[in-house]
Amino acid sequence: MDIFIQQILNGLSIASVITLIAIGVTLIFGLTGIINFAHGEFLMIGGIVTWLAVSAGLGFPLAVVLAILAVGLMGYILERGLFRFTLERPTNGFIVSLGLIVVLQHVVVLFWNPNQKSIPRPLTTVWEVGGVRIASVRVMVIAITIAVVALSFRMITASRYGRALRASVEDRDTAALMGIPVRRYITGVFVLGSALAGLGGALLIALFPITPFTGGTMVMKGFAVALIGGLGNIYGAVAAGLILGIVEGFSAGYGFSQWTDAYSFALMILVLIVRPHGLFGGTSGPRMAS
């Protein structure tokens, strides 16, 4: 029983990071139709920035803020410089993101070598509750994610900006006709998604060492979660993140750890075959004016 709870906790802490990616992925896709594979590299850069900041002697909280700001800024620059021009052809946006994967990974390798990078755990306390060992750092990751996700929800469901955003996801052209500055929202979503990925990277490096190639697997899991939940559907992404976290936690706890990475993909393929729009229903991308 104690192993069981511990594994669920482990699964959930990784699922937190994946959910943070999935929200960015799902929002960007919902609004622009761009499948941004480079989102995992945004996460990786977030981790690297945290590592650099902590190695330079800064505290972890400050490093997290730096990672969020740096990756958010990067998202802004990339959207203005590249993705803006691919809005009419989302496939081109996808291909650009492939190029970005290669470039970002190897720029990091070039400057900071391909080896694993880790920081000392920001919280080292381990609580013992009834024989269950709970690492506080994992609890921190889960708590921060819950807070951030709740905040994003609140923004998206309750504020007028959120309503405008949802309207734009639903139908870009009509939203634009209603006077919503859709282009600016697209930039905003890129920045928000990137900032969340930056946070995800910072949290990930608090849990595990990362390499410049960590982004690839993580983004696939992010996409798996986004697709399982239904692309464009944030609730779906969070729910699917939970499911995946629990499944991965179980598998690691019961001796199938070498297959851990396979579950997300297998689950995704299965869900897509049975329900092509995801478990909770999503958009199939923005309707393009033809």
Binding site: V96, G99, L100, L110, A266, P276
Partner: protein, 345 residues
């Protein structure tokens, strides 16, 4: 516009043949390279490039003609390579018998992946193929002794042709050139057949094609299977050339590099895959870059090509030459015709 960009009208004999001619001339010149006693390093690079080009011709049928982008092409190559290695180990099957068997295995795998993936349509296909690629790598890694786990399999069979040993680098080089030629001719034949026109109709407008009675789903899967045949053959050549294969060679990142090559070269023109494969293989040599730097250059090239030359490098050069020769600006319609992914809405 003559050949190239307006392949749709090039169905009639002579014109179609003319589009094949440049590739044949280039390949004939490439086949003469051993006369200049190149270094072993050059030959190895050229062989790897050629093996990639064969796979790229399959990808160009899929992406260039049908407008479907696969991120699992390296997985199909991997199926071919593993099929060759396992057949040689367990059944003593040699190179030539492994070719059709591996092509069949890759085609079957493509069909298994294609049926569910294409059912979900559009953007999901890319992600599905990517996921299948990753899954294959995981399965191969966890396959125990049968697939050799993470270290992979060795393959030490001799390749003979009419009793002559082909393992020698120069001979293997010539053989790969012959295979590349076959692949180019096959892809040219597909482009200029009524089948190719059907695929292009699907690329340009799926709904319209369906309304004309074209079975869109079946043809898309068919195109994926065809790309699998090319990939399988390329896999056999790769396995016998390297003598050792491992799962990481066929995961999704090699697939990204294949997609990158075909797009840098240009997926629609028959010269595209050849140019892309050669360019990506030799660019680091020419510019004297280390692998990390050259990858950055590839990535930047890909982004630049997509943003600036949607036809790929060769298409762009051809268009620029034509514009310079005729001296008149391009009308809007041709610009539209030349952009990939038009059909993807």
């Amino acid at each position: 516009m003559t050949e190239g960009l307006h392949q749709d009208r090039a169905g009639c004999g002579l014109k179609a043949l003319r589009s094949l001619l440049p590739v044949l001339v280039i390949l004939a010149l490439i086949a003469l390279v051993p006369l200049f006693s190149p270094s072993n390093r050059f030959l190895s690079l050229a062989i790897s490039a050629g093996i990639n080009v064969i796979a790229l011709y399959g990808l160009s049928v899929l992406f260039g003609q049908t407008g479907i982008l696969s991120m699992g092409h390296a997985a199909l190559v991997g199926v071919g390579a593993y099929a060759a290695a396992i057949l040689a180990r367990d059944f003593g099957v040699g190179f030539w018998a492994a070719l059709p068997a591996a092509a069949l295995a890759s085609a079957a795998f493509a069909m298994i992946v294609g049926i569910p993936s294409l059912r979900v349509g559009g953007h999901h296909f890319v992600i599905m193929t990517f996921a299948f690629g990753q899954l294959l790598a995981i399965v191969l890694t966890n396959g125990g002794d049968y697939t050799g786990a993470a270290t992979g399999l060795d393959l030490a069979g001799p390749v003979t042709l009419f009793g002559a040993d082909m393992s020698d680098l120069t001979r293997y080089y010539l053989m790969v050139v012959a295979f590349v030629t076959t692949a180019a001719v096959a892809s040219w034949a597909i482009i200029n057949s009524s089948y190719g026109r059907t695929l292009r109709a699907i690329r340009e407008n799926e709904k319209l094609a369906a309304s004309l009675g074209i079975n869109v789903g079946r043809h898309k899967i068919g195109a994926f299977v065809v790309s699998g045949i090319f990939a399988g053959i390329s896999g056999v050549l790769l396995a016998y050339f390297l003598g050792h294969i491992s799962p990481s060679q066929f995961s999704s990142f090699p697939s990204i590099y294949l997609a990158l090559m075909v797009m840098i070269g240009g997926a629609r023109l028959i010269e595209g895959p050849l140019a892309g494969g050669i360019l990506v293989a030799f660019l680091p040599e020419v510019l004297n870059l280390d692998p990390v730097q050259s990858r950055i250059v590839y990535g930047v090239c890909l982004i630049a090509v997509i943003m600036l030359l949607p036809d790929g490098l060769i298409g762009g050069v051809v268009r620029a030459l034509r514009a310079a020769l005729s001296g008149k600006p391009k009308p809007e319609t041709q610009q539209r015709n030349a952009t990939p992914s038009e059909a993807r809405r």
